[in-house]
């Protein structure tokens, strides 16, 4: 398993331009044409609810499917000044939820300051924690207590309840460390009945296939994690891997790309398309630009209104709410089957 990002490897698919060129080169039906068939193009917004912030690409893991191409060699990181702009913008946006992601967001040196300031805004705060960061270094051991203090909703990836499938996607030893971290979170009350400390898990398929039914997976994960490790959690989100960045590279390298894309297109679900997350979400990059979602962020598809890229420094909520959402072939990942979003299935 490579321990370097695609960027550090100087891989052809590390640039957004090359990824888009590759995605557009196949003869598949255009995603925009699929939307047109149900009069959903151009895709417009609903009420803004979630303000997702990617605080940097630095991570302690190098997962094979990572759409961010995150890892220890990525240096892009949000500064405190940009975080301050986020705080000002969240108030203007009216969003009720702030969703912090990365990389490993906890590795941003201003992470704790940012969470403390966010708490003052009285919003629901989500942290996408990769679990292993909690046990990576003693300076992170108190993260469960820190999360609890600020009533953070913790969302964590665990592709399976066995080591082989988890480690094949996320790296050797990740499963064991994840179990250790989950026990620490349970230990302070996360995921337990009678507490309001939410611990939600994310299931991503460990390969070129679509996720199983979310409810069935949740039931099985709950039974297995309880019986094997005495671990509890609240909900499980089944998320489809989108064909961008490292997962795209995997699909191409393993010669699964054509079949996977065909599968996504054939599984297009009009109801899922109506409920895609970009309609109620904004995504902010480490350097303060605004996107429709974290995937568009990684493909550098910035929101532009009136011929100007939207940035925290010129945030205009009215024109953002009236914008047309940028779509491309990767969007099929959010509309296949029961649909997919950062909160799991959409139907």
């Amino acid at each position: 398993m490579s321990t370097k990002s695609l960027l550090a490897q100087k891989h052809n698919l590390s640039t957004p331009e090359n990824q888009i060129k590759f995605l557009e080169s196949s003869a598949l039906t255009l995603f925009s044409d699929k939307l047109k068939q149900q009069s959903l193009f151009p895709l417009t917004t609903n009420k803004l609810e979630i303000f997702q912030i990617n605080v940097g690409k630095l991570c302690n893991q190098v997962c094979k499917h990572c759409h961010v191409d995150a890892g220890p060699d990525r240096k892009e990181i949000m500064t405190r000044d940009t975080m301050q702009l986020c705080l000002d913008t969240i108030v203007k946006s009216g969003a009720h939820t702030v969703d912090l992601t990365g990389g490993a967001p906890e590795m941003n040196p201003n992470f704790r300051w940012f969470v403390e300031e966010l708490t003052k805004l009285n919003r629901n705060i989500i942290v996408r924690c990769n679990l292993t960061i909690i046990v990576a270094n003693k300076k992170y051991y108190d993260l469960p207590t820190f999360f609890k203090k600020h009533k953070i909703e913790v969302v964590s990836s665990l592709p399976y309840f066995t080591a082989s499938k988890t480690d094949s996607q996320r790296g050797d030893g990740v499963f064991e460390k994840s179990i250790q971290a989950l026990k620490m979170l349970n230990g302070v009350g996360y995921g337990l009945e009678g507490t309001d400390l939410k611990l939600n898990l994310v299931y991503n398929p460990s390969g070129a296939f679509l996720p199983a039914d979310q409810m069935a997976l949740e039931t099985e994960f709950k039974e297995k994690l309880k019986s094997l490790y005495d671990i509890r959690f609240n909900s499980l989100y089944a998320i489809t891997n989108l064909p961008i960045s490292r997962f795209l590279e995997y699909l191409v390298r393993s010669e699964n790309y054509d079949d996977y894309m065909e599968k996504l297109v054939n599984a297009y679900n009009p109801i899922a398309a109506e409920n895609v997350m970009c309609r109620n979400t904004l995504s902010v990059s480490w350097d303060g630009f605004i996107y429709d979602c974290d995937f568009n962020q990684m493909l550098d598809l910035k929101i532009d209104t009136e011929n100007k890229f939207q940035h925290l420094s010129n945030f205009d909520i009215d024109s953002i709410n009236k914008r047309n959402i940028k779509v491309n072939q990767h969007c099929y990942g959010c509309t296949a089957g029961a649909g997919s979003s950062c909160g799991g299935s959409v139907i």
């Binding site: 082989s164 499938k165 679509l210 199983a212």
Partner: protein, 110 residues
């Protein structure tokens, strides 16, 4: 290279209705009904299908139901246990005929 089995043909399975639409439609309607959630879950049915695929040694079915069981959340151990069920029944079916052989042997022996 010409072979009897072409993986691309699996995608054309639906085309069998071309030469006999009425029976083709009946078959696919039936097939769809069989694999719906019922007294058995769709996942249990998929694992049975995987085992049968091996018993009938159909490469199309093995490809299709390996993917299908993975998409229903099964892991490699569960898939292989299903294959062993098929293998056990196949080998058991051979061995149980040993009783017939023994009966005949005894019948023919003094």
């Amino acid at each position: 290279m010409k072979t009897y089995y072409n993986p691309e043909d699996l995608k054309k399975f639906g085309n069998i209705s071309e030469f006999e639409p009425t029976l083709g439609k009946k078959f696919f309607d039936y097939y769809g009904e069989v694999f719906k959630e019922g007294a058995l879950t769709a996942r249990e049915k998929s694992l049975i299908a995987l085992a049968v695929s091996h018993a009938v040694q159909c490469p199309y079915c093995i490809d299709a139901y390996t993917l299908d069981t993975m998409e229903k959340g099964c892991d490699e151990k569960q898939l292989m246990e299903a294959v062993h069920v098929a293998a056990a029944i196949k080998s058991g079916a051979v061995l149980v005929h040993g009783v017939q052989m023994m009966n005949k042997y005894k019948e023919l022996s003094m």
